[in-house]
Amino acid sequence: MYLPGNASKARLREAENARRNRAEIVKAWSQGQVSRRDLIKIGLFTAGGALLVQNGLSPFARSAYASIPTGTPSSPLFGVQPFTQPMPRFDVLTRNPEPGFLNPAPTAEANTTQQLLNTALEGVRPGDTGPIEGRPPGPIWAHQDFNTLPPRIAVQVTQEGAKTNTTYNPGVSSSLNSGIDPATPIPVRFHPGLPIQDPLKVWTFNGTVPPKLLIGRYGEPILFRHHNRLPFDVTQNGGFGRHTLTTHEHNGHHGAENDGFTGAFFFPGQFYDYHYPIVLAGHKTINTTATDLRAGSPDDAGGITKVPGDWHETMSTHWFHDHMFSFTSQNVYKGSAGMFNIYSALDRGNEAINDGVNLRLPSGTAKSFGNLDYDVNLMLADKAWDANGQLFFDIFQTDGFLGDRITVNSAYKPFFEVERRKYRFRILNGAVARFFKLALSDGSPMIQIANDGNLLPSPVTLTQLDEQGIAERYDIVIDFSRYSIGQTVWMVNLAEHEDGRLPSKDLSIAEALSGNSPDPGVGKFLEFRIVRNPAQPDISQVPAVLIPNPDLSGIPVVRERVFEFGRGAGQPNNDPVTSAFGPWGIKTDNGSMLAADFGRVSAAPSFGKREIWTLKNGGGGWDHPIHIHFEECQTLARDGQLSNVPAWELGRKDVWRLRPGGDVTITLQFRDFAGMFMEHCHNTTHEDNAMLLRWEIDDKGAPFVRPLPTPIPTPQGVRFQAPDEILPTAF
């Protein structure tokens, strides 16, 4: 997908010109100056969603020189060599006691206090006012259970352009962070030898790198106040990205008002209060008197505070990211992504406490919970940059945008110093369209302990992990005691792409290390340097039993639904805010293949019930990592059979790669909370073009109504309208 490094000057020049030309179109589209419909009318975009094949314009043009689809020149390295910078640990967000910290104090319903609006915002006239909070107003979007689960921790973040980090908190000592001095300011760049990013090119949480880590524990609700400090002027986006935001806590068991619904976005100058109760699913029906020690939260003295709910629903590794309708890929790529570690009685983040409940996974011992010493978050993402070293993105690559430079925690091919002991790595695929398949360069075993947010029923020992689709999280344990001090081993990507639709070939380790792959994303991307023995003996464990699945056998299935993910989608609606346009779509219960419309209700399962959903890949030339919001699901079958479900997918999940021509059957319940949620491809290019649907739980009783009104945000406030469409099988 990238031109080879030895491409001719003429070929590179043509490709660069094509990139500039289409960048202008990207800019106009992303800034709202033209719509996809406009581009179709003027003949630059096909009804199928692709930019027309025109030499010197289209990324898909088979140019006179470029035989590779995008024909994009390689991202220049400015002489930088791989594995010459330390990998930064995540930047831990400050936890503040609440009530008392946030001003104004959070409210159950959206805070509609008016403020004078900046006239640079679209549709704003001088003197216009709008609410300070962008959350849709009224009881339907009020925080559910706000009075019974009031916030005890406040975390306040901004979204803003790139700036130097002067408050880095890795949560560990410098010796456990490859020698990085947290007091040294950190500008936003992918390597010390690469250019500093322009504030319009990179938009991150707090405007800084490394990416942010949220720490939580069960029974301790968090109020996550997100301030939008992006430019008021929609055209000030560096050529891609949209300044409106909606933040998804993936895959929180929260009310829909906190889920980052794609149509519940907020504007620059506003904030949005997300209330994360952090409860065990089923907390209103199972173990309601909180008598089971396994359903618990770590207290500050090494003990357990029991909480209601089913301990089998305990979750561990989440992440949070932007979910702006039609702009998720651009905004996440620009930096709107962080991770969220949730601690529990079982997954304590303390490897020393031996109380018969704590699983004692690799972590550390100093704190009662949440030790990060040997519990490391890794966010993998492929990036690309232009001749000036500035981040580059191409929204017209509707197959899926691929970068040619692999980053870990926003650092280009770094190294990480480790001790001779066990480490837990929480690995997130934070890419737009790239799948990874990971192995150690020497083929050494790794133990997979979790898939997505959930610890597995039993650990699985592997030498090569399965493909990891976008948004999937794999928690693994690597025991570095098998190595000697001074040795080095690399993490290697085996999944080779030709385009963004799916990996074209899973390579052997030797093939991936050979350097012969045309995909620059293949091969070594993270170097582990074994630097010393641990100061204390490694007492961490990987128990043979982790978290068995909840037993659903006694819960009747009331409904089965089928969702097929494919191409050739139609869009019967013309609402310029709610409906998207693109080649990708979803067919519900054998209906029409439909492009996304967040005003359309595609499914409305009943509150408190269980259903079986089958997710089908409608083609053989692509794969889709399908994400279902809100509830963790159990995988019943792949291609119709349970025996096709590998051991590492036998726990709960929230993202499934369908595989080419494949299907997955899952079961899920709808408990505790209600509102409108989503289901979509997490290849965010596919999601934005327009493989996403809305489903909702709307029969929980007041204030919910069937169907739910659709929010239409504006700077002056959110209005509501009736759904554009309700599919015949929705209810």
């Binding site: 075993p445 799916l502 899973d506 052997s508 083609g619």
Partner: protein, 167 residues
Amino acid sequence: MKTRRPLFTAVVLSLMVGIAGGLAGGSSPAHAIVSIASSGMNTILYAGTVNGPPESVFLAGLAQIRFVVVRDPDFGKPPAVRLDIDLSNVFGVGLTTGTRYVTSGRQNLIRPLVATDVVDITFPFFPSGPGGFALARQALASFTVTYDVSTGRVTSATASTAVNVAP
């Protein structure tokens, strides 16, 4: 001084290989999805000895290869093969201690459909019993799968070699 670990210590071992049941399960028409050209399952007798500390281990058993050949009528790209290689029915015996070993190797791979595809995978093996997985070592298995490209069906599959991986 930094010492780089060797990638694979390629010790080719004596090996007994055969196909149990030939194309067990055979190639069958796929279910109704138009993009699937064929699917089926092969079971291959796999055996070999992996050397290295703490002891050499004789591994033997049935490797199961499930394949699904998928077409791409939308973009017209060449067909691909989804391979599911399951080595969980391969077991081992420690040649010094008699310790029983198990494997947990299963790989889901996407590969281009070519007449002959050599697929190398690593897999872990470890002592059976509680906590054994934490003592896992690794081995390399190499499978040669031949296809009738015109029909997209497997014509043969063999485990052609096995090598140690550096301990």
